[in-house]
């Protein structure tokens, strides 16, 4: 793709020359990089780069940086505006230009620069050092691997680099084995917040504080509730990419099309609507701390962990939350089930409402089920929202990468507005980039769920103490729901177990 642009740039040079002789130039802006002219890409080319099937469709402004080759450093950018000339020579320009946006509007190139607003541009001259890194290995896991692979390949073609893209089911385990065997590590890889502390402990990831100090716009561009998703001891170790959220799915045939989930009393309303039907009002995996956490927040446990990542299982919110769930179960509203069983019952019409993750949305859409979608409700008893977990996925850079610049560019590209918009729209994910959600075409209910979850939700702690707590509660909650232990006994035992494991 870059080579095509170079040939076009020669043609452009001739055209500009004619313009200088008084002939009419049809190019709307000139681009120069280190004295070499570049062709301005057209709408079709940009549509291809960002995987937009219809070039006529309006899509998000694209990164200004995509107009130029990958740069390791940019020393100076001069933009000829209407009536003035803008000169930029600040530090870290090569990073900052990825947060500048550009669009082609009525044949003009319009560039938007933070604090400087939108400016129609006549020409741009850029001076700097091109990136010499040409190869990179990236490990992906979980959903969207196919879509990401395609998008990354387009990035590679556009910029003339080679990306080795591998799908690895268990990235931390593989990294650990490779690291200890001194095998070459990938340069960039997917991470989940729950895996991060372990990855930091065995020094497979590098801290990314410098990314945010180089360009403050990076932090500003992220959803506020996702900014801290990948902090370990206050240091960011991954760049947020997207998130899933916990939410409620409602079988409309059972619940009625007018059913709305606003606060916890609506669960009883739902049960009443079912009447004498055999269907359960609701079901979720009540044995898992992961699904108890929203209720802990709803009864006032915020934050989840102490300031030194201690776990206070005997916080009043814990017993209140468990008592609440027990009451739902005892009154015949709640059927505790693990995910697969719960989903089967829901699809079979035997449960009216389930709590699950937004990753289920594509599945329900494929099944063409009439499913209502709601964010977690208000807890009128606790005076707070039942706050959903924002299960964040991010991109980390290896502590052993030989291509740190290319690694950053890959992350910049994947977190740019048009890529975020398209990828998250396809896979029904919450984009890490703030502006992207506004531009995504989603079912109305899902948009509302995402927006509300972003306001009330939170990322899980990365500290290993959360994992220990989760592991202990996996057994303890079963004892409680089986009636083998009282809540008080269970929490006392759990605290002992957690403390014992934490002190080990």
């Amino acid at each position: 793709m870059m080579y095509k642009r170079m040939y076009r740039s020669v043609f452009l040079l001739c055209t500009v020359s004619l313009a200088m002789l008084g002939a009419t130039a049809w190019a709307s802006a000139e681009l120069w990089c280190n004295g070499q002219p570049l062709a301005l890409p057209n709408q079709n080319e940009l549509s291809w780069l960002f995987g937009q099937p219809n070039p006529e469709e309006t899509f998000a402004p694209f990164p200004f940086a995509c107009l130029f080759p990958l740069m390791e450093e940019i020393h100076e950018i001069v933009l000829q505006l209407e009536g003035s000339q803008l000169l930029l020579q600040e530090e870290n320009l090569a990073e900052k230009v990825w947060n500048w946006s550009a669009c082609l509007s009525s044949g003009k190139l319009v560039v938007s620069i933070p604090t400087l607003g939108e400016n129609p541009v006549q020409w741009v001259r850029l001076e700097g050092i091109a990136c010499t890194e040409k190869e990179l290995e990236i490990w992906l896991s979980r959903e969207g691997v196919l879509e990401l692979r395609e998008q990354l390949q387009r990035f590679a073609d556009w910029f003339g680099v080679s990306l080795h893209i591998l799908e690895i089911p268990d990235i931390p385990a593989r990294l650990q084995a490779y690291l200890r065997a001194q095998e070459p590590l990938p340069d960039v890889f997917h991470v989940e917040s729950s895996q991060l502390e372990e990855l930091v402990d065995f020094q497979s990831v590098q801290g990314l504080a410098y990314l945010f100090s180089q360009d403050s716009q990076r932090l500003q561009s992220l959803q506020p509730n996702m900014r801290d998703a990948f902090l370990v001891n206050g240091v960011p170790y991954a760049y947020p990419f997207y998130a899933d959220t916990q939410m409620a799915f409602v079988n409309r045939e059972l619940a009625g099309r007018d059913f709305v989930l606003q606060d916890e009393t609506d669960l009883w309303e739902l049960a009443a609507r079912l009447g004498s039907s055999d269907a359960w009002a609701c079901s979720w995996n009540a044995y898992s701390l992961y699904w108890l956490v929203p209720f802990l927040r709803g009864f006032g446990m915020d934050p989840l962990l102490g300031c030194t990542n201690t776990v206070d299982v005997q916080h009043p919110a814990v017993s209140q939350a468990i008592d609440f769930l027990l009451a739902l179960r005892d009154q015949g509203l709640l059927l505790p089930e693990e995910r697969d069983a719960m989903t089967s019952l829901f699809c079979a019409g035997e449960v009216a409402l389930i709590l699950s993750g937004s990753y289920m949305v594509p599945q329900f859409e494929r099944l063409e089920m009439e499913v209502g979608m709601f964010a977690l409700p208000w807890n009128s008893r606790g005076g707070r929202w039942f706050s959903p977990v924002l299960d964040c996925k991010g991109l980390a850079i290896s502590a052993r990468t030989k291509v740190p610049v290319l690694s950053r560019r890959v992350i910049d590209f994947l977190s740019c507005l048009p890529v975020q918009q398209r990828f998250c729209e396809q896979l029904r994910k919450i984009p890490a980039r703030r502006e992207a959600l506004d531009r995504m075409s989603l079912p109305g209910e899902l948009q509302q769920v995402f927006r509300k979850s972003l306001r009330t939700g939170f990322p899980l702690p990365t500290a290993s103490s959360y994992g220990i707590w989760k592991s202990v509660f996996w057994k303890i909650l079963r004892f409680v729901f089986a009636g083998q232990m009282s809540v008080t006994q269970a929490l006392q035992s759990a605290q002992q177990l957690v403390d014992a494991n934490l002190s080990y």
Binding site: E72, Q85, L86, G117, A181, Q182, Q206, A209, Y210, I397
Partner: protein
């Protein structure tokens, strides 16, 4: 008088600090010095201002300006209330106030700019860029209204909006210039002090060994004659002078085990190639292979332009290697090792016996390596890269093992575990190996020097009790491996398989002598009370929680409950927990006289020490034991 003297002093002092701009928003003060202003975005343009008389094109004087859009400066001040006013104050106290919206360039009035040049002359002015090249009186009145517009002799004059020698940009200014000057002096002093307070650095070095250096080491080296060079390197067309040590000298401290000179550099190792990683304090890290970098290419600077600095990497290299605030240098060279323990692994079977040292095994055709995991009963998973010998391949070739055999492995501490040969030969989930290296290093005595583990590309995982450590002997037994189970029920339900029982017996082995009419036999097994721990409470079971928590519920046993022993054929006896409590004379046994139980008793038998003083009332031998049940009163 004194007040005016003080004011004059502050003014004079302020003049000495000319060139800085102070941005103020409440308690937030931002000082931008010349060097900082110089790198901010600048706009170059031409504009003419209407005055009182020169309002026609013929009279207008167009000037060339270059400066920083005010929106950039406002960005340093954080949140500003939308209804705020911004006052630009000159050194001499002259000021102009504007609504925030205007200074954010929100109207058609034009872009406000802090100009650093006017017709090529340096300075600091407030000016405005208008796209049409003119700032007219009509524009001014329309945008600012009379309250904020400039007048001269009662007539509007846009030219009066210009402010020369801008010193302060203040949000919602209260008009107190003296306080402003005083605070600015204090702020400038704070900056100077901060510049002087340099955090003490330390630099970690890791490789074959670890080391750490700090400024005191540097000082000591200088005193001992280690010469730091002075070098000049250019960065973004600006040359700077550095005091440096070649990077290789620091790497030399850790690239191999030294007896004498710390800077003895392993040149050959560098040329053979290893990964070197440079990590900055902010986390930035870059690696390279030493084969791709000349030893003369990179330096570590400890001062810049004569001023001590936090170590940074410099050189005639790509900017990505210019690592500032260098915190760590890591050389991925083999770690220095202690001598591997001399150890011999014994093998025996129907075809004979032999032993091999670890070195012999390493050099054998059976040597393999790969990732593998095991998970303890507490749920902790350990994943490592293992190296050892393919157990199945070795035993087939050297011992004639077949799939119908049983492999018994005995550890240094007496622990035993049996494996089905069929399972060992099954490669579908990975390869069983006798591992003696973990993550490139010999296994230490415990859990080594040899342990059994399964390896493979998919990092196979096995239960912890199947991953035998401290292996001493491997025995091939020409008897088919027969699995069995023991069911336990009470306050919990569980079923223990052969491996779990064998593991338990290995850990808590007991022997009793049982006297029958005909014989006196020695049975080996585990005390019954230890098995009751699996089902005597709803919460805890052996090895499922922290060791500090005892799983055996002695309190309940002391209160008394019934324990029913069921045989396969339905035969059963009932004993009391009061008499089984911590009684090591009553066992569930899996071996008799050192061998597997005979078919009439296999796989397990309830048996007891005939001569024990404390035996439960009604106890009898129960052959082919299948189920132990607790019944509470």
């Amino acid at each position: 008088m004194r007040k005016w003297l003080w004011f004059g002093f502050l003014l004079l002092l302020g003049c000495c600090l000319f060139g800085e701009v102070f941005l103020v928003n409440g308690d937030r003060w931002v000082v931008l010095e010349d060097s900082q202003l110089a790198v901010l975005p600048t706009l170059s343009f031409s504009v003419a201002f209407h005055g009182v008389t020169n309002t026609s094109d013929e009279n207008l004087e167009t000037e060339n300006w270059r400066g920083i859009p005010l929106s950039v400066l406002l960005g340093f001040l954080g949140t500003i209330p939308p209804d705020a006013t911004i006052t630009l104050i000159a050194q001499d106290g002259f000021s102009r106030e504007f609504p925030l919206g205007v200074l954010r360039g929100a109207g058609s009035f034009g872009t406000p700019v802090l100009a650093l040049e006017r017709e090529g002359e340096p300075g600091q002015w407030l000016t405005f860029f208008a796209q049409d090249g003119q700032v007219t009186n009509e524009d001014m009145l329309q945008e600012l209204g009379e309250a904020f517009s400039s007048f001269h002799g009662g007539q509007p004059s846009a030219r009066g909006l210009l402010v020369k020698d801008v010193r302060y940009l203040v949000v919602n200014w209260d008009g107190d210039l003296e306080a402003l000057h005083e605070q600015s002096t204090h702020s400038a002093q704070m900056i100077e002090q901060q510049g002087e307070e340099k955090e003490e650095w330390s630099l970690s070095l890791s490789g074959a060994v670890d080391a750490r250096i700090d400024p005191s080491d540097l000082q000591e080296w200088k005193e001992r004659g280690v010469h730091l060079e002075e070098r000049v390197f250019a960065r973004k067309s600006t040359e700077r002078r550095y005091e440096v040590l070649p990077l290789w000298m620091l790497v030399a401290m850790v690239d191999d085990l030294h007896d004498e000179h710390p800077f003895s550099f392993a040149q050959q190792l560098w040329e053979d190639g290893y990964l070197l990683t440079l990590t900055a304090q902010d986390g930035y890290a870059v690696s390279f292979s030493t084969t791709e970098m000349s030893t003369q290419a990179l330096f570590v600077a400890f001062s810049e332009e004569g001023e001590p600095t936090w170590p940074k990497v410099v050189g005639e290299v790509s900017g990505k290697f210019w690592v500032s605030h260098l915190q760590e240098i890591d050389a991925q060279v083999p770690r220095a090792q202690e001598d591997a323990p001399s150890f011999t692994l014994a093998f025996s079977g129907p075809s004979g016996s032999f032993s091999r040292t670890l070195e012999q095994l390493r050099e054998s055709e059976f040597f393999v390596e790969g990732p593998g995991s095991y998970t303890t009963s507490a749920g902790t998973r350990y994943t490592n890269h293992y190296a050892g010998v393919d157990m199945g391949a070795l035993l087939v070739q050297q011992m004639g093992m077949t799939a119908s055999d049983t492999v018994e492995i005995i550890a240094l501490d007496g622990y035993e575990m049996s494996y089905s040969a069929e399972e060992i030969l099954d490669q579908s989930s990975g390869t069983w190996i006798l591992a003696f290296e973990r993550d490139g290093m010999p296994l230490p005595q415990d859990p080594g020097p040899v342990r059994t583990v399964r390896i493979g590309e998919a990092t196979p995982n096995v239960d912890g009790h199947n991953s035998l450590k401290m292996v001493k002997r491997v025995q091939v037994i020409p008897v088919a491996y027969r699995p069995f189970q023991l069911q336990l029920s009470g306050l919990m339900q569980t079923t223990l398989d052969r491996d779990q029982l064998q593991s338990g017996i290995s850990c808590h082995r007991q022997r009793v002598v049982y006297q029958s009419k005909e014989n006196s036999d020695t049975y080996t097994g585990i005390a019954v009370w230890r098995l009751l721990a699996f089902v005597d409470d709803p919460a805890y079971a052996p090895h499922r929680q922290d060791e500090a928590i005892l799983s055996y519920n002695q309190e309940l046993a002391a209160k008394g409950y019934s324990v029913i022993f069921h045989a396969v054929d339905g035969y059963q006896i009932t004993l009391s927990s009061l008499e089984l409590d911590r009684n090591d004379a009553v066992l569930v046994a899996n071996a008799k006289n050192g061998s597997d139980l005979e078919s009439g008793e296999w796989p397990l038998v309830l048996v007891f020490d005939s001569s024990a003083e404390r035996l439960p009332e009604g106890i009898k031998k129960v052959k082919q034991l299948a189920h132990i049940e607790i019944v509470l009163p």
